[in-house]
């Protein structure tokens, strides 16, 4: 049996890795299962069967209220944000060619946080309302993430970009962003200060449909772009010289991919804050499952990321009920040891 199945249309051809497709389908089923399980858990337990029935529009009105207005928006937000963060990390690891790269370690998340907090501070009215539509917030976070991403890239340029230098400079800039974010919170109104602490750690608490509707198209659009670019990402991973030899426009592709990565990270951070280490862990786990070809790696990372953030949120919601812990605490508690494991494994640092 052949490992690959070619898929050919008139204008499109693609080698489908059978095992990877199977893996991705399993992951998708797992994601769906976790979604339903997550909806059913909480202060008021709802039987999974009832959950499915409600989602299909045949449930009791009480269940419908709890699920549709409270649980589903936050779980969907966790799902979408997890996808975005994971794919953002997968892209960075591809173009930087460093397994330790991730949007939070190299400061992209920090730039997005700073921009989002600045946005809220500048445009907040006297009360608790924001004077400009909240729909612009991912855009602000995107700009913050892009500026930071480019800054890290430029500052680490010295006859080419050395991955170690890039990570170190990212760490430095991330610390500076953290300090500046603290300062913006101080400038801002008081209600923001109390919220911002939790938000920076990363939490989907208090999500609403509006946020889901804003973030989802943004993320799906860029996921599609990234997936279409997967071919070029594969070439990027071969290194600058080989990629150029294959006829790739290395610098242009790298810039476009960096923009995709920052767009995804920025959008996710704008709504869920800095849920850390997802962009680091998810691509690695996905790579173990489906191999390192980006055509399969991108959807697999997205699903693993969704599973991670949904799982973290589920624990955050239920472990200390009725208190809520920011989901970012759990991703960090899981991710930091993983980071150290990668550090231990990597030989050429």
């Amino acid at each position: 049996m052949n490992k690959y199945q070619p898929l050919r249309l008139k204008w499109f051809s693609y080698l489908v890795d059978k095992k990877a497709v199977l893996c991705i389908m399993l992951l998708a089923i797992l994601t769906l299962a976790l979604l339903i399980f997550s909806v059913s858990m909480g202060q008021m337990k709802i039987h999974p069967v009832d959950v499915v029935r409600t989602l299909l529009g045949m449930g009791e009105s009480m269940n419908e209220l709890v699920i549709k207005s409270f649980r589903l928006p936050r779980i969907l937000l966790a799902l979408v944000a997890g996808m975005a963060l994971a794919v953002s990390g997968a892209i960075l690891q591809g173009i930087i060619r460093n397994p330790l790269a991730s949007p939070d370690i190299i400061g992209i998340t920090g730039g997005a946080s700073l921009a989002a907090v600045t946005f809220l501070t500048i445009f907040s009215g006297r009360g608790t309302e924001v004077t400009v539509s909240i729909q612009w917030m991912p855009f602000a976070a995107f700009i913050g993430a892009s500026v930071l991403g480019l800054l890290v890239y430029i500052l680490s340029w010295k006859n080419g970009v050395n991955p170690v230098r890039l990570v170190l400079i990212g760490i430095g800039l991330a610390a500076a962003m953290q300090a500046l974010t603290n300062m913006m919170i101080l400038f801002g109104p008081l209600y923001l200060a109390t919220q911002a602490q939790i938000w920076i750690t990363g939490s989907v608490n208090g999500a609403n449909w509006n946020q889901v509707k804003t973030l989802t198209p943004w993320v799906l659009l860029f996921l599609l772009f990234v997936w279409m670019y997967a071919r070029r990402l594969n070439i990027q991973e071969l290194g600058e010289d080989l990629a150029r030899g294959f006829g790739s426009v290395v610098q242009k592709d790298r810039l476009v991919l960096l923009l995709f990565s920052t767009a995804l990270a920025g959008g996710a951070v704008a709504f869920v804050g800095g849920v850390g280490f997802v962009g680091l862990m998810a691509p690695h786990i996905a790579r173990k499952l489906v191999g390192s070809s980006f055509g399969a790696l991108i959807p697999a990372s997205a699903l693993v990321g969704a599973l991670l953030v949904m799982g973290a949120d589920l624990i955050a919601r239920t472990a200390f009920a009725p208190l809520e812990v920011p989901a970012g605490v759990f991703t960090a508690a899981l991710g930091a040891p993983y980071f150290i494991y990668l550090l231990y494994r990597s030989r050429n640092l």
Binding site: L100, D104, I105, L155, S156, K158, V164, R165, V167, L168, I169, I171, G172, L173, A175, A176, Q178, A179, L180, N182, M183, L186, F187, Q197, I198, I200, T201, G276, F277, F320, L323, E324, V325, P326, G328, V329, F330, T331, A332, A333, G335, A336, P337, F339, I340, L343, Y344, R345, S346, R347, L349
Partner: protein, 336 residues
Amino acid sequence: MRELLRTNLKKWIGFITGILLVVFFIGCSIVYGYTSVNWGMVVASFTQFDGSNAHIIIQESRVPRALIGAAVGASLAIAGALMQGITRNPLASPSIFGINAGAGFFIVLAVTLFSISSIHQFAWIAFFGAMVTSLIVYFLGSLGRDGLTPVKLTLAGAAMAAMFASLTQGMLALDEKALEEVLFWLTGSIEGRKLGILTAMLPYLIAGWLGSLMITGQMNTLSMGDDVAAGLGQNTALVKISAAVVIVLLAGSAVAIAGPIGFIGIVIPHIARGLVGIDYRWIIPYSGLLGAILLLLADIGARYIIMPKEVPVGVMTALIGTPFFIYIARRGLNKL
């Protein structure tokens, strides 16, 4: 790069100038601020205290703040110099290696679990946290087949810092009462601290300062490399452990007093080395003086940027320190 002050005479002159500058900036820190006072009033508040608003502000707020700034700045800088020495890593400092975050985590843990509030208990917990974190980071940095490398150490520190910061946030989210108690402290500021905090920590600080001066000779030997130092008959493990104790004393006390204030420990030792060269007998005292001056200046600046509000001094030091950090990272980690 040759040092700027090459003869011993110049170094002594620089040292005395440094002391005078520290005294001068302590004075500035007392005089300049939102409530305007003048030098005469400062002297008067000591000689004939009259209970007026200005005198109370000077005695209760400005003087403690200036003295704490000087002590914390000096301690963080010396801790940074020693860390860079024993790890041979130019980016080593209490904040980047997660020691500040670790001490903060343990303090928040203690406040949440045992609801302690005395400054002496704070101090011991901060020491404990600093010690545990440094051990973890040092251990993790030396995992792997090629042993302790500067990059691994830095990355392990950054990862631990991120983890401790997240865990701290999580605990604070669980316990809002604890948040109220420690939030003032977590922001990293020397404003609004009472003089009592400084006097309570002073024994540890003095022990740390004296300890750092006592091991300067051994640090010089160690800076030639572990192998050479061992060949010259030095017990390198003992020297490293003593340096670690001093680092934990200094960084722990600084965190207990002022909360996490970053970047001083990175920037100052490099400037000190630029001034006096590679001799730790000079680097340590110069680091102390320069650290005090930097923190005092950053704190004075923090009052003027967004008057009448204040920027936390930790933000100021980060803004000053980041370009420096990038410069060092670009230059490469193998040059100390």
